[in-house]
């Protein structure tokens, strides 16, 4: 049984088909890259997988259980953790408290949540900022914090929506290293990114979407050299 099964999921906004019978599966322990030009439906798909949008048609199963109609907080408790393309945090709470929210909400005891938060702050080089309100962090530090919050309790699947966008190379390396180690330890990811070098480096398998449909789904090298993918990104002439 796949960890995540996406079966002919469709979603329209007015007359625009954001997702058009999108289907793929993700096995436990996979690190899958999700690429595609702007407006190809990547974020819409992430929003459906995490419960912020309801699909018009199709089904999504997590470990064989249908997730349709579940609220974001329920899905989070089932182990679907995500980051947002436009980073979200709790600006008037300390960096530490930002992590403790996630730990407590997912059932950790206060002590366990604190121990875990300190480990993550260490991993993400945020320790000296732990008592600073998140509102005072830089954009890159916020990305790291939001990212860390997803791993307070190891999720069933982590949906990372553009974690590397506008992040300083040093922080990008911290994040990439973190993803690499977790993947080696068996963590399942979907990684949305426009950063092809990172996708090539991290993801063994990549899915490319265009106009709401999956146009390529195989090993990353093959996807990036696929004429259909190049055409979707650069137009017909380049292919």
């Amino acid at each position: 049984m796949p960890c995540l099964l996406i079966d002919r999921v469709s979603k329209s906004f007015g007359g625009i088909k954001a997702l058009d019978r999108t289907s793929f599966t993700v096995d436990a322990g996979e690190l899958v890259g999700l690429i595609g030009p702007n407006g190809s439906g990547k974020t819409t798909l992430i929003n459906i997988l995490s419960g912020y949008l309801a699909a018009d048609a199709g089904r999504v199963d997590l470990d064989g259980r249908p997730t349709g109609g579940l609220r974001p907080e329920t899905l989070a408790a089932l182990g679907v953790q995500r980051t947002f393309q436009l980073t979200r945090s709790f600006p008037r709470m300390s960096t530490l408290d930002n992590l403790l929210v996630a730990g407590s909400a997912l059932g950790l005891s206060q002590e366990a949540a604190e121990t875990r938060a300190l480990e993550l702050l260490e991993d993400l080089a945020l320790v000296r900022l732990m008592h600073l309100d998140a509102g005072h962090l830089s954009g890159g530090q916020l990305k790291l914090l939001e990212f860390g919050a997803c791993f307070m309790v190891p999720p069933r699947i982590a949906l990372l929506d553009e974690p590397f966008a506008a992040v300083h190379p040093t922080m990008k390396e911290i994040m990439a290293g973190f993803i690499r180690r977790r993947h080696a330890a068996g963590q399942t990811f979907i990684l949305v990114s426009h950063d092809m070098p990172v996708i090539v480096e991290l993801c063994p398998r990549t899915i490319c979407m265009n106009a709401g449909a999956v146009i390529a789904d195989e090993n990353t090298r093959a996807v990036l050299t696929d004429p259909v993918v190049i055409e979707a990104y650069l137009g017909e002439a380049a292919a």
Partner: protein
């Protein structure tokens, strides 16, 4: 990184806030020793009524980010529950006051459910309509409530000082209760919902449950305050639920410090006592407080408590930098 470092930050800040709150209440406990005037002691009792309403509204608006415009309505509901029970059924305060807490809490629960998906101005307008509807129902149900004539409520104690310390004990209990609540993960959930509801849901915070809890608890505390006020004043009327009363409560919280423990209760005394002094100059109190609210929300978002805290931190930092310079 040591475990005790975790103890700093938020927890240390909350402990300070609790200590300052206790300091304020200790000062209030000593006030009757200085002020023998019965009228002024009455003013302090009413200040404590407002301090409870301010603390309750602060839980909802300051800590959970739900800008309800109905706090005075819940005070009025509490007063009328115990008032009507004693008027129609001769129920003693021992029954009336708990009933006021339960009924206000239940109505708060229902209101919380109704406004669950509303935010910002929509939430404010819906709670305002609710407050006005309740006030008009009470004011027009003349056969049951005697309408605008108001309702006589039996007293509990013979001496004003007994009311004084009873109110103070309840205010202390409310303040301690809020402190211990906000220290638990519940405090984290409420503040997370205030800061970003969407992010809170994505972290697994049960939004519906905690928003409803905040509404219910805030309404129950307000109802308790209103019931105690009714027995002290021995009279309740629909005027308790006027929007201007809500305005006073909001000004207390904003001036004292939204989302802080000592701010709202400290400012409740300052604002109410100031309004007593301003009373001599006609209806200017609300204008003065409205201006203060605008100034504070524009320039001092953390209110008087924030100003005090920063002054204190600067004073503490100065000797340290002087040492470093040497």
């Amino acid at each position: 990184m040591k475990a005790e470092d975790v103890q700093g930050g938020t927890r240390a800040r909350m402990r300070t806030e609790l200590l300052v709150s206790l300091g304020i209440l200790a000062a209030v406990a000593l006030l009757p020793a200085i002020v023998a005037n019965e009228y002024w002691r009455g003013v302090f009792i009413v200040s404590m009524y407002f301090a409870m309403l301010a603390a309750a509204w602060n839980l909802l608006a300051g800590y959970t980010g739900q800008l309800s415009l109905a706090p005075a309505a819940f005070g009025m509901i509490g007063g009328y529950v115990t008032g009507l029970l004693s008027y129609h059924y001769n129920a003693p305060p021992m029954v009336g006051i708990p009933a006021a807490i339960v009924v206000s809490g239940l109505i708060g629960f229902v209101l919380g459910r109704i406004v669950l998906r509303l935010r910002g101005p929509y939430l404010a307008l819906t709670t305002l309509s609710f407050a006005e509807i309740v006030r008009l129902i009470i004011s027009n149900s003349i056969e049951i409530t005697r309408g605008d004539l108001g309702l006589n409520v039996p007293g509990i104690f013979d001496h004003r000082l007994a009311y004084y310390y009873a109110m103070l004990a309840v205010l202390l209990a409310v303040q301690l209760g809020l402190y211990f609540l906000l220290r638990t993960p519940a405090g984290l959930y409420l503040r997370a919902i205030r800061d970003d509801e969407i992010a809170a849901a994505s972290r697994g915070v049960k939004i519906v449950l905690w928003k409803t809890n905040a509404f219910t608890l805030s309404a129950a505390i307000s109802g308790l305050a209103g019931a105690l006020y009714g027995h002290f004043a021995q009279f309740v009327s629909p005027e308790l639920g006027l929007i201007s009363q809500t305005g006073i409560i909001i000004s207390m919280v904003v001036i004292g410090g939204l989302g802080t423990l000592p701010g709202p209760i400290g400012a409740a005394f300052l604002v109410y006592i100031a309004s007593e002094f301003l009373r001599g100059f006609g209806g200017y109190q609300l204008i003065v407080f409205a201006l203060l609210v605008i100034i504070f929300s524009r320039f001092f978002r953390e209110g008087l408590w924030g100003l005090l805290r920063r002054a204190f931190e600067r004073a503490r930092a100065r000797p340290a930098t002087a040492q470093a310079a040497e």
